[in-house]
Structure formats: structure tokens, C-alpha cells
């Protein structure tokens, strides 16, 4: 079996930059899509991308060098000291479900707006402006 803690310690800086960088980059991309895109479906996709970045950031913060999944399966009953933090994973499980609910509800609103105005471009939804 490969010992991941050795690999992790060897390339620690690179892995840190890769994981945190990916997560922050995803958040920025999602925010960019939400703020600047004109199509409503693209805005909803931007929200989902931002969600993914935040989840990655959460799980990455809970990682422990050389840690295993926090599951006490047979043969791992006593290895609690080498397990990764279970709390961020439980929170991300909640966050994924809430993210699904938000996406579904937002998409239904997009469908309704498209049917009413025959366009999904936010610049042409004039009746929303005050």
C-alpha cells in the first residue's frame, strides 16, 4: 500500500497551492458568472460552481496529513488518531443537499421567467427594473 503521508510531506507546498488555488479559483469563477453573465441559466450554473469551490475548501481544511476516512471499519477500530476531521465532511454533506435545493428552485424560477417573457436574458427582463 502506498503511504500518502510521505508523498504529501514531500510535495506539501505544491499540493496546498493546487487544492486551495482550485477551490478559490472556483469561487471566483462562480462569482464572475453570477455578476457578469446575462443568461439566467448561466447565473444558476455560476451559483453551483461557487458551491463546489466552497465544498472543496471545507473538506481541504479538515484534511490531516496521512489521514484515512473517518470510518471504523473492520481492522480500523483503533485508528481514530489517524483519521481526518469528520465535522467538515458532515457539514459539506448538508451543504450539498441545500445546494441542490437552491439550484432546483432557481431553475424552476428561470423556466417560469422564460415562459412569461420568452427570453432568458436579464437585460431584456425590463419589468423587473424599477
Amino acid at each position: 500500500m502506498i503511504d500518502f503521508s510521505i508523498i504529501f510531506e514531500q510535495y506539501k507546498d505544491g499540493i496546498t497551492i493546487a487544492i486551495y488555488g482550485t477551490a478559490i479559483f472556483l469561487i471566483i469563477i462562480g462569482l464572475y458568472a453570477v455578476l457578469l453573465k446575462k443568461h439566467l441559466v448561466k447565473i444558476v450554473i455560476g451559483l453551483s460552481i461557487m458551491d463546489a469551490g466552497i465544498h472543496l475548501l471545507f473538506v481541504a481544511v479538515g484534511y490531516i496529513s496521512g489521514g484515512t476516512a473517518p470510518i471504523f471499519s473492520q481492522g480500523n477500530e483503533g485508528s481514530a488518531a489517524t483519521m481526518v476531521d469528520p465535522v467538515p465532511q458532515a457539514l459539506v454533506l448538508t451543504a450539498i443537499v441545500i445546494g441542490f435545493a437552491v439550484t432546483a428552485l432557481a431553475l424552476s424560477l428561470v423556466i417560469r421567467l422564460y415562459k412569461h417573457h420568452h427570453t432568458a436574458n436579464i437585460d431584456q427582463l425590463k419589468s423587473l427594473k424599477w
Binding site: 486551495y20 462569482l31 481541504a60 496529513s65 473517518p70 476531521d85 448538508t94 435545493a101
Partner: protein
């Protein structure tokens, strides 16, 4: 143009402060601390989960037992999302005529899928259901659980919905399953309230670590959550895919 500039300045500021914050949080550092005499919440959970609750998957122990009330709220949010989706997309019969730009879309949707897809879907559908049920029944032993198993079952229904044109789920069965699952979750919580003094309190009997029947109420609650999530996600998919005008 000016708006774009402002957005880029804002994104740059947010990115800069996120990077600056996470530079001081090293990846892979042990923040759980001592497990035997826990000083952190994570250490407490990792200590209690196998020793007191006898639940192998400590994430399940957190989601269903320690944070069970939060999960009840989460399931409620999912239910509200499914209900809100159905009520937003519900249309009265007279709106249907003004729908002129739907025809080319619905024409493509109405093309029958090939017999290869249909036969494959028919073979795969029960296996996907079986996998989903396995995942949520073993939620306290293996990775996975009610939410994941429910999502797997919903993908099985999605496969049937896209490959069979006239496939619809039985609405009454769905409503009953969802209601029974939701009431079951609340019922287990109320049983804990009356028998042991606090809402969603687990039983004293917990069984052995890594047994299928272990952890008190945790497998029961996760089965309820699995059924509830599966029916809700299937309802969402059914609503989204069958927006066609209803037959009069």
C-alpha cells in the same frame, strides 16, 4: 464597461483576501487533537462514535445522531424545495395555448429512444434501485447513507424517465412513501423525547461495532431519510421532465 471594471476589482479583492486567509491555515495539520481526552468537537465525535454509539461511520453518527435536529431541518428544506418547484411550475389549463415556442423542443423530446437504450434501461433500473437501497441500509457501516442512496435511486428513475417517453411515477405511492418516511423520522424523534427525555435521543441499546443492526435508531432514521430523499428527488425530476401540457 465600468461595471465590468468594478466586478474585476471586487473579484480581485475577494480572491486576494481568501488567499491571504488560507495562507495562514496550513493544509494537512492535525487540528483534531487528542482522541482519548477530547478537547475539540471533532475529537469528541471520533471518541463517542465507535465507543458509545457503536457506529462505524462517524460522519453518519454526526449527521444522524449528534446533529440529528439539523438533519431534520435539512430534509424539510429539501421537501420545501420540491414543493416550491412543483408549485412554481404548475400551470393552469388556459395558459397552454400561448405556448408557441415550445413546439420544436417538445418535438425533439417526443422522439422515441432506440430499443438499445430502452432495453438497457430496463435491465439497469432494478440494479440501480438495489444499489441505492444497499447504500442507505449500510449508511452507518460504509461510505454513503440516506442522501447518497436516495440520489442513486433518483438517477435510476431519471434513466427510466429519459428512455421511456410515457414513463411517469405513481403520484399517490410517492406521496404516501414520502409522508410515511417524514412522519417516521419525526416519530423516532418524539419517541426519544417521551422515552428518554430529549428530542431524537438515541436508545441505550447500541449493539456491536460493524454489525448491520447497531447504533440504536441510526439505521432506522437513515432508511427513512433515504426513502424521503429518493421520492423527493424523483418528484423534482418528474416535475421538470413532464412540463408538457396536460391532456384535457
Amino acid at each position: 464597461m465600468l461595471k465590468k471594471l468594478f466586478v474585476f476589482i471586487l473579484l480581485f479583492a475577494i480572491g486576494y483576501y481568501l488567499v491571504a486567509t488560507f495562507r495562514s491555515i496550513p493544509l494537512g495539520e492535525n487540528r483534531v487533537g487528542d482522541i482519548e481526552n477530547p478537547t475539540t468537537v471533532s475529537g469528541f465525535y471520533l471518541d463517542k462514535s465507535p465507543n458509545d454509539l457503536k457506529v462505524a461511520n462517524s460522519i453518519t453518527a454526526i449527521v444522524v445522531n449528534f446533529r440529528g435536529f439539523d438533519t431534520l431541518g435539512e430534509v424539510t428544506v429539501l421537501f420545501l424545495a420540491a414543493t416550491g418547484l412543483a408549485s412554481i411550475l404548475y400551470r393552469k389549463e388556459e395558459d397552454e395555448e400561448e405556448d408557441d415556442n415550445r413546439h420544436h423542443i417538445s418535438h425533439r423530446l417526443n422522439l422515441p429512444s432506440s430499443s438499445l437504450v430502452r432495453t438497457g434501461a430496463k435491465i439497469l433500473f432494478p440494479l440501480i434501485l438495489l444499489l441505492g437501497i444497499y447504500v442507505f441500509v449500510h449508511g452507518h457501516l460504509t461510505p454513503g447513507g440516506g442522501f447518497q442512496g436516495g440520489a442513486i435511486i433518483a438517477t435510476g428513475f431519471l434513466l427510466m424517465l429519459v428512455s421511456y417517453k410515457g414513463f411517469t411515477t405513481n403520484h399517490n405511492v410517492m406521496v404516501w412513501l414520502e409522508s410515511i418516511a417524514g412522519l417516521g423520522f419525526v416519530g423516532v424523534g418524539l419517541y426519544g423525547l417521551f422515552a428518554y427525555g430529549s428530542f431524537l435521543q438515541n436508545t441505550g441499546w447500541t449493539g456491536n461495532l460493524n454489525d448491520l443492526v447497531s447504533g440504536g435508531f441510526i439505521p432506522l432514521i437513515y432508511i427513512f431519510i433515504g426513502i424521503k430523499v429518493a421520492t423527493e428527488l424523483t418528484n423534482v425530476l418528474d416535475t421538470l421532465l413532464n412540463i408538457k401540457p396536460r391532456k384535457k
